[in-house]
């Protein structure tokens, strides 16, 4: 009995400490608009081994000296999701915290956790209470879906007591642009109608679209290839990759060749002077031969095993 009393006596400050810690965290979160700015000591408090709350921590380096562009890109999404979490009712809200740990405010934590890159998002599950997880290890957020807030909130909702009520803000600027565009289109329809009815306008749009697509534009778009290589190279060897600049070059090459054929078919036969016609025939044939050779050379750079070549 005595022993029990002693133990319970000892337990009181511990319990109070935990309670204090949580209260402190709640107030910190409230003051930081849902996000706790961490330093080394609050980090230890937040990730204390006996915690009945879960916590999602963003490791970042926002200081301009660190030149971390992704961090800057990701930070607003993080804050938006954290802000959305503050709208949840208090008893649920206080069981999950959002925190941000900047490298320059707590480099020791980075060293301790052996982190070499940023941004990172780690989610620590609670170790006590009804939601306690057997795994004490934090889970890591996969940035393969990008830095947007939507996928982040979907992912984090797996770890929070209730799903995060995040809604993407309405992009007023975009809507305004669309509406303004439609309005101006409707207003000027009378004047631009002849242009819109011109087949050659549509022809140009069609040709440019298909040239860009055939130049591999969608590849650079989907894969997010850089415009040029790191060392300034504009053509990347290998048939399965390409840089942004290659789209322009290849589309221009195709366009030139197609244009030469169009000239030979639609313009040259209508010439009124034999001499001029002959010059044009030779000119466009020369252009075709030359540009085609360039194209084959380009292709040989991409596909080293290609056995054929033309003039070049």
């Amino acid at each position: 009995m005595k022993l029990f009393a002693f133990v319970s006596f000892l337990a009181i400050p511990l319990a109070f400490a935990a309670k204090d810690g949580k209260d402190k965290l709640i107030s910190l979160a409230a003051s930081g608009n849902g996000v706790i700015r961490l330093d080394a000591s609050t980090f230890d408090l937040l990730t204390a081994p006996n915690r009945d709350w879960s916590v999602a921590i963003q490791f970042t380096a926002l200081d301009p000296r660190r030149r971390c562009t992704p961090c800057k890109e990701f930070d607003p999404s993080w804050n938006a999701v954290a802000k959305a979490w503050t709208t949840v009712s208090a008893e649920q809200r206080d069981n999950h915290f959002f925190a941000t740990l900047d490298f320059d405010e707590a480099p020791t934590v980075f060293q301790k956790l052996n982190l070499a890159s940023a941004p990172l998002v780690w989610v620590y599950p609670p170790t006590e209470g009804p939601r306690a997880s057997t795994r004490n290890l934090p889970s890591k957020y996969d940035f393969s879906t990008g830095y947007e807030a939507g996928p982040l909130s979907i992912h984090l909702s797996n770890h929070t007591p209730v799903p995060i009520p995040y809604k993407a803000p309405i992009d007023w600027a975009r809507w305004l642009t669309v509406v303004a565009g439609l309005l101006s289109f409707a207003l000027t329809l009378r004047f631009i109608a002849p242009v819109l009815q011109s087949r050659w306008l549509w022809g140009a749009v069609t040709i440019i679209t298909s040239l860009t697509m055939n130049g591999g534009f969608m590849f650079t778009r989907i894969r997010g290839s850089p415009y040029t290589g790191h060392d300034g190279a504009w053509i990347s060897p290998g048939t399965q990759t390409q840089f942004g600049q290659e789209v322009q070059v290849v589309a221009a090459v195709y366009g030139t060749l197609a244009f030469s054929f169009v000239m030979l078919t639609m313009i040259v036969p209508y010439q009124s002077s034999p001499a001029r016609q002959r010059v044009q025939v030779y000119l466009w044939s020369g252009v075709i031969m030359l540009v085609y050779s360039v194209l084959v050379t380009l292709f040989r750079v991409k596909n080293r095993g290609y056995p054929f070549k033309l003039l070049l």
Binding site: M213, N214, M218, T265, Y270, Q271, P274, V281
Partner: protein, 825 residues
């Protein structure tokens, strides 16, 4: 014989009378070869004045032309089929790749047991333990086609093996595709362009890639069906024929039964009809063609069990329905308009038509929101929102043929057609008849799709061939034409810029141009190239030649023709090279070359599958990544957990989880699914890059989609974010079942030397992984296929790890096992 002079005569018509009657036919054929565009005299307006018709009856010319067409077409078909046989000659008559193995297996069932059995076929070995209702989840067109051919041949007592029919189906259908493309292009321009297009599509690598012998896949017949449906649609539209519309619907039904890509037709034709409506080209022909196609096509497509009620319930098909409704409204409006004259009533009518259209569109939106119409399925949606698949359906994004296309693939697959293609589109814009609008829309849409997904290069290829053929044939028409226009009289003055163009004088010349006879009244030339261009553009856009066209001088003509022939010859070489080197590998058998240049075949897959077939119990279940499911079912005849059908994401994720988890976690999964063997593909010894370690991240990603807490992709990278398999590999990587099975005893192969993974160029640690729950059962000659047997539970109830340790005489550590044994008991 003086062929040369006779040709000369025939061409210039000087002494045509001298030609004897008895050799008339011979001469005609020679003539016809020399001047290609004359082959088809009835398609040319300007042919009347030619000397050719002086003493030869038009019927003879027409007959010869059609005979030559048939001969040319026969040669094209032969070339198309022959170039697809590289795979058979270099390897053997074998089914290729992955999906064809399923189609082959299903066809065998169909041929052996009949159509009803096939229709009701439930396959319990696939997707173990779920099974698969094959008859209801398959596009049966391909198998039915082979089955019909098989039964047809056997009826005539030609005992051809079903495998050979399957292997040779794609080459055979490529000849039909060439014919369909010929018909289609003939509708666009004329039959000379048609023959060019047929020749192009016969050998173009973009189509060969999916139709070599042995590539027994839906695409093998689907491209033929695509082109024939489009041709019939155009024919129906041009003539306003319900018969052609119905035929289009019949072939559309065949297409629906054959390939999931039928949705391309389902949307192309409505878009074409809609654009024609918007261009103000509504006509009775359009109405008849579209309605007969849509009504019959939709009803018949719903007879395919796998499609069912989709045509009225999913967004992919709503466009066709919407245009159908719109056409009814417009047809009604035009009918009413033709009977009424009141201006106000017509205004009212216009307003009501527009509001009805809006109402209909609104109804669609509401029904989509309410869920009565299913939204776009993931596969189609990912074509528009290209990031969608990667985020939400990694299983679609993981397929290599769903990757976006880089430009070298376009050039590799289409070569010089790719830059003739825009020129052909420009020519379509020049004429802009209803059928040209179709080619234009097709060009834009297919270019986009081919850019998004490599496999959709297949749908781009036909339109590129058609369009390029139109461009090249137009060019040749002009430059092969030996009739020269009149030489302007005051040619010198044109240089001084004093002459003024007089269109009337030139127009008068148009029909009188005969051979080299120079007309006396020549027109003054325009003063500058710029005005030439303007005139030409003007004349071409009005498509009424206000000015004569033609080429002076044989040298100019020769340059162009030689250039064109050179390009065509190069194209043939290119296609042959690409076909032989890139597209004829069965991928079941790999080819490499010995140091002396001779071919060395790597036959590990069949070796391993045959081992499975001969050495494992009939009801054994093999777990592998889904890529190999069809092959295991087809070649090894064993049950699989997942296969290339990929209909159940969770099941695939389960396999992914087992592969990417440590042994202790994977083992219960394996046992729960009755897995007896685990099969992995490992290319590290040979440098074969398509192995499972390279696909491993997709397994992780797909598993992560279902168990985000347990499997996390970043754990499989080193802290610096690299994907490594050597000493520095992350713990999760090193402990995963996949890694362990791949590199099990790999280092021993090298003795004391460095064990190098030749795919990833990394050194594998000397002390390799150990396996407790599975044991090595088979490793093929070049280590490409490794099969591991899943061990049964320990008879003494120990976990297999401690049982192994005990068997190896290792002392147990005191701290660990006490509680564990108790837990087991």
């Amino acid at each position: 014989m003086a062929i040369h002079t006779q040709v000369w005569r025939a061409v210039y018509g000087k002494s045509a009378d001298a030609i004897e009657k008895s050799v008339e036919n011979v001469d005609e054929s020679i003539r016809a070869i020399i001047c290609i565009p004359r082959l088809f005299p009835f398609t040319f307006g300007h042919v009347d004045g030619l000397p050719l018709s002086n003493n030869v009856s038009p019927t003879t010319v027409a007959n010869t032309a059609s005979l030559l067409r048939i001969v040319a077409f026969g040669l094209i078909s032969a070339a198309a089929i022959a170039s697809r046989l590289f795979a058979v000659i270099n390897f053997e008559s074998i089914i290729h790749e992955f999906d064809p193995w399923f189609n082959y297996r299903a066809t065998r069932v169909l041929a052996a047991k009949g159509f009803y059995e096939f229709w009701n076929w439930f396959d319990p070995t696939a997707w173990y333990p779920l099974g698969r209702v094959v008859g209801g989840t398959v596009y049966p067109g391909l198998m039915a086609t082979s089955g019909v051919i098989y039964n047809f041949l056997h009826y005539f007592n030609l005992p051809v093996d079903i495998r050979n029919i399957c292997v040779l189906l794609a080459p055979g259908f490529s000849a039909l595709t060439a014919w369909a493309t010929y018909m289609f292009t003939t509708e666009m321009k004329d039959s000379s362009a048609g023959l060019l297009a047929a020749a192009f599509i016969g050998i173009v690598p973009g189509y060969i890639s999916r139709s070599v012998a042995g590539s027994y896949d839906n695409e093998a017949i689907a491209i033929f069906l695509l082109m024939i449906t489009f041709y019939l649609w155009i024919a129906a539209l041009k003539q306003g024929s319900a018969l052609y519309g119905t035929l289009a619907a019949v072939f559309y039904f065949y297409m629906v039964a054959a390939w999931g890509g039928y949705a391309f037709i389902t949307n192309m034709i409505p878009v074409h009809a809609l654009v024609l409506l918007l261009m103000g080209r509504f006509s009775g022909r359009l109405y008849v063609a579209y309605c007969s196609w849509y009504a019959i096509g939709t009803l018949s497509s719903m007879q395919v069990p796998f499609v069912g009620f989709q045509p009225v319930r999913t967004s992919e098909h709503m466009g066709a329905l919407g245009v159908f409704g719109l056409l009814q409204i417009v047809a009604f409006a035009s009918l009413v308009r033709s009977h009424l004259s009141s201006k106000q009533f017509q205004d009212l009518l216009t307003v009501s038509v527009i509001s009805m259209g809006l109402l209909g569109a609104g109804a669609f939106i509401v029904m989509t929101y309410k869920g009565w119409i299913a939204p776009w399925t993931g596969r189609f949606y990912s074509l528009w929102d290209t990031g969608y698949a990667k985020k939400y359906i990694p299983i679609i994004a993981s397929v290599s043929e769903h990757q976006p296309t880089a430009w070298p693939s376009f050039f590799m697959d289409l070569q010089f057609l790719i830059f003739l293609f825009p020129a052909g589109v420009v020519l379509c814009f020049r004429d802009l008849r209803d059928e040209h609008v179709f080619v234009i829309i097709y060009a834009v849409v297919a270019s986009y799709f081919a850019g998004v997904m490599v496999r959709l290069m297949l749908t781009l290829t036909p339109v590129v061939c058609v369009s390029a053929a139109v461009a090249l044939s137009t060019l040749l028409d002009i430059y092969v034409d030996v009739a020269e226009p009149a030489v302007p009289e005051n040619e010198n003055s044109s240089a001084n810029g004093t002459g003024a163009a007089t269109a009337d004088a030139k127009k008068a010349k148009k029909n009188a141009a005969v051979g080299s006879q120079a007309g006396p009244n020549a027109a003054a030339a325009a003063s500058s190239t710029l005005s030439d261009i303007v005139n030409a553009a003007k004349s071409s856009s009005k498509s009424s030649p206000s000015k004569q066209k033609g080429i002076w001088g044989a040298d100019a003509r020769l340059v162009i023709i030689l250039n064109a022939i050179g390009m065509l010859v190069y194209f043939v070489f290119h296609c042959t090279w690409v076909t032989a080197n890139a597209y004829s590998s069965p991928s079941v058998v790999l080819a490499s070359s010995n140091p002396d240049g001779s071919q060395h075949l790597i036959d590990d897959y069949r070796e391993a599958y045959y081992w499975l077939r001969m050495n494992t119990p009939q009801d054994a279940v093999v777990m592998s990544w889904w890529d190999y499911g069809y092959q295991i079912a087809g070649m090894a005849d064993r049950g699989t957990l997942v296969d290339n059908n990929t209909w159940n994401n969770t099941h695939i994720a389960t396999v992914g989880k087992a592969m990417s988890s440590p042994e202790e976690i994977a083992y219960p999964i394996l046992r729960q699914h009755d897995v007896d063997y685990v099969l992995v593909i490992f290319g590290g010894l040979l440098g074969y890059s398509g192995d499972d370690i390279n696909k491993f991240l997709w397994m992780v990603r797909i598993a992560q989609g279902v168990w985000p807490d347990e499997i996390q992709e970043p754990n499989y990278f080193t802290p610096t974010g690299e994907y490594r398999v050597d000493e520095r590999a992350s713990d999760a990587m090193k402990n995963s079942l996949m890694y362990k099975m791949s590199y099990y005893r790999f280092a021993e192969l090298y003795g004391n030397g460095n064990a190098i993974d030749r795919v990833r160029n990394q050194n594998i640690p000397k002390i390799g992984p150990t396996l407790d729950y599975v044991e090595e059962a088979f490793t093929s000659e070049n280590w490409i296929v490794r099969i591991f047997k899943v061990r049964k539970e320990d008879p003494l109830g120990r976990d297999l790890k401690s049982a192994n340790a005990f068997a190896q005489g290792k002392k147990r550590k005191r701290s660990k096992p006490v509680s564990r044994r108790r837990a087991v008991v």
